[in-house]
């Protein structure tokens, strides 16, 4: 029996008729050719989140980001005017990778007054302007104003730094994010700066991995251990309270009983002792409200999971959040980045609560990662290509549709005009 009311059309999926209700194809996740198109159509045109403003706290703070899908590396730096800028990580003289530490292909971060190329010592200021050329007189009419670093479009929304590789982005960052995401304008992400960061190399297409975090239909089966065995229901189901789609972006909200109100049998001993666990610390400093946080009006509200196209997920709990990014490295591999962000701990006990939540996150993310390698391998048999999706999996349907739509639109734009 349905616990939550569905839209008037009878289902969430039919509420968005462009999605259809038929089986879908996952060929977009096993085809090297599709991936090549996706790199151009999606990853070189969408706004991509590469970090938070807290990662460049001072003038001259910088980090580099290797973005395989765009086959490029980017430097993100805070200038003397406090503006955050992004540049392609290449010296304009002989094409050396400008900023790296021990190995050119590894990301790095730090602080500096200027960037100096290791090769011939050319220097650039924090705005990317070329400020020093060794033996400048040996060059032939070199106009240094024309040899600044190549900029990448860069903008900030609510502390999240985004870049866009399109020479002329089709939308400003705010236009791209749209009303559903920018309804979180006043959500105080900047208060939650205590981070536990994770990185993984996963053997699955980036969308296949994202799919596991945008539906909860799999939770009772794959993650049965989320509740102790004594209270596990053999046919447990899970129903989400609210789904919403806005342009290429998606969200899902679920209800949640506050953990400490549950019967103790529903908790593991470590959760009872530390007052923390799967859904984070039981009592965080406070629950923040924002018009965008719970658009479905779910009570009691548990979490809202924002899927920002293409590869960003922000999952907001009571007073803390979790962020995932999926960076494709081929049609069947991706680099996964994740972090938990909490209010800075005020006591040892609060720090232990954060540790517990971060340990538990890894346990269950490893289950997803382990299993999805198997999903990818089986999809690549390419024997079946009509996969039925339930109403609970509407967001899976949407992500694949949007990716295919973007690729088709890109192809249409490039197709020769018919006569």
């Amino acid at each position: 029996m349905a616990k939550w009311p569905k839209p008037a059309e009878g289902s969430w999926t039919e509420h968005y008729p462009e999605l259809g209700t038929g089986p879908i194809s996952f060929r977009d996740s096993i085809s090297p050719e599709f991936y090549e198109l996706e790199r151009e159509a999606v990853f070189k045109r969408a706004w991509l989140n590469v970090g938070r403003i807290e990662e460049v706290p001072r003038v001259g703070s910088y980090f580099t980001k290797e973005i395989d899908a765009a086959r490029t590396s980017v430097i993100v730096v805070k200038g003397k005017d406090e503006q955050i800028r992004a540049f392609y990580n290449i010296c304009r003289h002989r094409g050396n990778k400008l900023v790296w530490n021990d190995f050119p292909n590894e990301e790095t971060k730090g602080g500096c007054r200027q960037f100096t190329c290791k090769y011939h010592g050319w220097r650039y200021d924090l705005k990317g302007e070329l400020t020093f050329v060794q033996q400048e007189g040996e060059f032939f009419g070199l106009d240094s104003s024309r040899y600044g670093l190549k900029p990448v479009h860069c903008d900030v929304w609510n502390g999240f730094i985004f870049i866009n590789f399109d020479p002329e982005p089709q939308w400003s960052l705010r236009e791209f994010l749209g009303p559903m995401i920018t309804a979180l304008d006043d959500y105080p992400f900047g208060l939650m700066t205590e981070r536990y960061d994770f990185a993984a190399e996963n053997n699955s297409n980036w969308k296949i991995f994202a799919d596991a975090f945008q539906e909860y239909y799999h939770v009772p089966s794959l993650h049965s251990q989320q509740v102790p065995s004594a209270v596990r229901q053999p046919n447990a189901s899970f129903e989400c309270g609210h789904f919403q789609i806005d342009g290429p972006h998606r969200l899902v909200s679920t209800a949640g009983t506050r953990r400490w109100k549950l019967d103790p049998d529903y908790m593991y001993p470590v959760e009872r002792v530390t007052r923390s666990g799967l859904v984070g610390p039981w009592r965080t400093p406070e629950t923040h409200f924002s018009a965008g946080l719970n658009p479905g009006g779910i009570e009691p509200w548990g979490i809202t999971n924002f899927q920002i196209f293409p590869n960003l997920e922000i999952l907001i709990y009571h007073g803390w959040y979790l962020l995932y990014r999926y960076w494709p490295t081929s049609h069947n591999t991706h680099k996964f980045e994740a972090y938990n962000a909490f209010h800075p701990a005020r006591s040892v006990r609060e720090r232990i609560e954060h540790e517990v939540a971060s340990v538990v996150l890894k346990e269950f993310a490893l289950q997803d990662a382990g299993m999805l390698g198997g999903t990818q391998a089986a999809l690549e048999y390419d024997i079946v290509d009509d996969y039925p999706l339930s109403d609970q999996e509407i967001l899976v349907r949407h992500l694949h549709k949007v990716s295919v739509d973007w690729v088709e639109e890109y192809q249409a734009q490039r197709a020769p005009v018919g006569v």
Binding site: K362, E363, G370
Partner: protein, 111 residues
């Protein structure tokens, strides 16, 4: 005898301190994966009765001025959290169905 690592009130855990007082998650994760379940359970069973008390002991200090012995105890608490996953949730060192997946913690606050 080697110098005590833990506060005297928790001296009964000195025999676990050498192995389990580990400052970082990668060290604790590796130790869990490479320790037989029997030995993990010995640590878990011994520490369980005083788990909460150990947290309360450390909580008397500020995060930035934990004496060395309390800091060691905090690292032992973190290892207890780590092995609790193996004992309480999975019954094995590695999460069920995690196959060959690897996920590295690459940043965290100290301590």
């Amino acid at each position: 005898m080697a110098r005590a690592k833990l506060p005297s009130a928790f001296a009964e855990f000195e025999s676990f301190a050498e192995k389990w007082c580990l400052a970082t998650e990668p060290e604790r994760w590796e130790m869990r994966l490479n320790t037989p379940m029997v030995e993990i359970r010995e640590f878990y069973d011994a520490f369980t009765p005083r788990f909460e008390e150990a947290i309360d002991y450390c909580d008397k200090f500020g995060l930035d001025d934990l004496p060395e012995d309390a800091l060691n105890l905090l690292h032992l608490i973190y290892s207890m959290v780590m092995v609790s996953m193996a004992v309480e949730i999975f019954g094995t060192q590695k999460p069920a169905d995690s196959a060959d997946a690897v996920m590295n913690r690459v940043g965290a606050p100290v301590p």
